[in-house]
């Protein structure tokens, strides 16, 4: 009985923890993705590092999301079915907030699968699907704000605010500040006659 109770609690804590880690990883991935698109680089931080981290952190986020979903389903305290993780707004438990999570997960899967097949499907399709990332991330954040069990906590508020701040800054810098100012490998000032 005690063991069962403890393991149930462990699953629930794991759901919360892996959800928060996923948020942090997805935030990092979005910022790195924006950095790639905006061509930010320097001599000490070459582009392939940004790209490589973007790819690997995104793949890592899938691992944590798998834990997040599996523990939420397996934890019997609230009734969540496997299908609720992929079909949005059908769960009996908090259908709207869980639905946002499912929606974000579907979008992320589309983004990652097309990225893995990128060379095969071509740049145009890959890029069209990749724009979904800009929808996926805010929906995932909303899912956390609506369904998260740690929302009353100060440190959770800090993580949420920091995540929104860095993504907003990166997106602002990419789309509002002209891209040409970031092209570090283009010597704008040089000894060319």
């Amino acid at each position: 009985m005690i063991v069962a109770a403890t393991s149930t609690k462990a699953l629930w804590y794991l759901t919360r923890g892996s959800g928060i880690v996923s948020l942090v990883l997805l935030t990092a991935s979005v910022v790195l993705g924006v950095s790639t698109a905006a061509r930010w680089a320097s001599a000490k931080w070459p582009r392939f590092i940004t790209e490589g981290l973007h790819k690997n952190i995104s793949l890592l986020s899938i691992v944590f999301l798998a834990v997040h979903i599996a523990t939420a389903v397996l934890d019997g305290y609230v009734h969540i079915r496997w299908i609720d993780a992929v079909v949005p707004f059908t769960s009996t438990y908090r259908p709207f907030w869980l639905g946002l999570g499912a929606l974000a997960f579907d979008m992320l899967l589309a983004v990652i699968v097309t990225s893995l097949l990128r060379v095969r499907i071509g740049h145009r399709i890959w890029r069209a699907v990749h724009w979904l990332a800009y929808g996926c991330w805010p929906i995932a954040v909303l899912h956390g704000l609506g369904a998260g069990s740690d929302n009353g906590q100060q440190w959770m508020l800090f993580i949420d605010l920091a995540a929104v701040a860095v993504v907003a800054t990166a997106v602002f810098a990419r789309f509002v500040v002209p891209a040409t100012t970031h092209r570090t490998n283009t010597p704008l000032v040089g000894g060319r006659a």
Partner: protein
């Protein structure tokens, strides 16, 4: 195998030159200058990585002419 760049697709991100400097360098505007000499097996993994990592998929690995 040899490496080819599609100059219309290429956007001058410059990732390829970082990953495969043995065959790719950049001009003053950040666009690749490709040495299309055959790539041996030792260098092939680097070439493949450059192809995969190109942000706009402008690189391609092609079979070198027969006999090379």
């Amino acid at each position: 195998m040899k490496i080819r760049v599609d100059p219309i697709v290429c956007d001058g991100h410059g990732v390829c030159a970082e990953l495969f400097p043995e065959r790719i360098s950049l001009d003053d505007w950040g666009y690749p200058i490709v040495d299309d000499s055959p790539i041996d097996d030792r260098l092939l993994p680097h070439a493949k990585r450059a192809v995969e990592q190109c942000p706009v998929i402008a690189l391609r690995l092609e079979r070198a002419l027969a006999g090379r």
